[in-house]
Amino acid sequence: MTGHDDHDHGRTFQPDHPEPTSDAALVGLALRELLIEGGHYTADEEQAVIAEMQGASPENGGKIVARAWTDSDYKQRLLHNGKDAIKELGFDLEPYEFTVMENTEGVHNVIVCTLCSCYPRALLGMSPAWYKSRNYRSRVVREPRGVLSEFGVNLSDDVDVRVHDSTAELRYMVLPQRPVGTDNWSEDDLAALITRDSLIGTQRDLSTK
């Protein structure tokens, strides 16, 4: 049977991107074609940039976090000037400033870009679909505790929430707390604990299971 009923919509968690139909989207497509036609850049160069972003992943963030957990001097440099500190590990986010916000017992950080969907893609790869959704972008500034609870992060009143709205030339990453019981772990094993959501702040506690 090849009808409509041979597949399960219930399993389609992430919808396809719709075909661009709005004026703005069509202008964007036309502009891209004109820039390539005019020789400002080539389609190959564009593909290379996309491939580079798709090659990046939250594992890079995990390496940075694990180094910060195991080297307190490095952590200080990272919190003071993230752009330079990640270069020590071979990463580069130029021309953006890279800002790392540390979670503590009393502070929880969460990242959003309310205006569009700014994200350190060249470091952490493509952002999750929900990060770009109007729902997340508009609600996490207005009711961060409620949105975080939907992600399973239930904060008590003695933890302050810091919402970071990434509106211009800075890119952000959260430095999650190191789980207890990992004192003797290697940097590689620690790095493997870090999840994408913990780097955005929609996860607080990392699992060591």
């Binding site: 021309p95 309310t114 500034v141 009711e143 961060p144 929430v161 970071h164 709205d165 211009a168 800075l170």
Partner: protein, 95 residues
């Protein structure tokens, strides 16, 4: 590179205006008062990028605003804060 007009800890007010060009200040933050959390670098002014390169570059600051000032009612605590990047030409010292 020009010297920063503001320093960490100073109270600043974000301008409440809507220029007819692309700008990076969301409506919810306009007119609000916060504290300079950190002084950042110089960057292309997005309001001038349509003319080319966004020069002269403008200093960016991170401004910390209490969530309870931004939203009413707000479900959270007095310790909850929003931190946002604002270009220097959008800021003036608050009373």
């Amino acid at each position: 590179m020009s010297e920063p007009l503001f320093s960490v800890g100073q109270r600043v007010q974000i301008a409440d205006r809507t220029p007819p060009v692309h700008h990076r200040v969301p409506s919810y933050a306009k007119g609000h008062v916060g504290v300079i959390e950190r002084v950042c670098g110089m960057h292309a002014n997005p309001e001038l990028c349509i003319r080319g390169d966004g020069k002269p570059f403008q200093r960016i600051y991170r401004v910390r605003i209490p969530q309870t000032d931004l939203w009413a009612p707000y479900e959270g605590t007095d310790g909850d804060k929003l931190e946002i990047e604002i270009f220097e030409h959008w800021l003036e010292l608050a009373q």
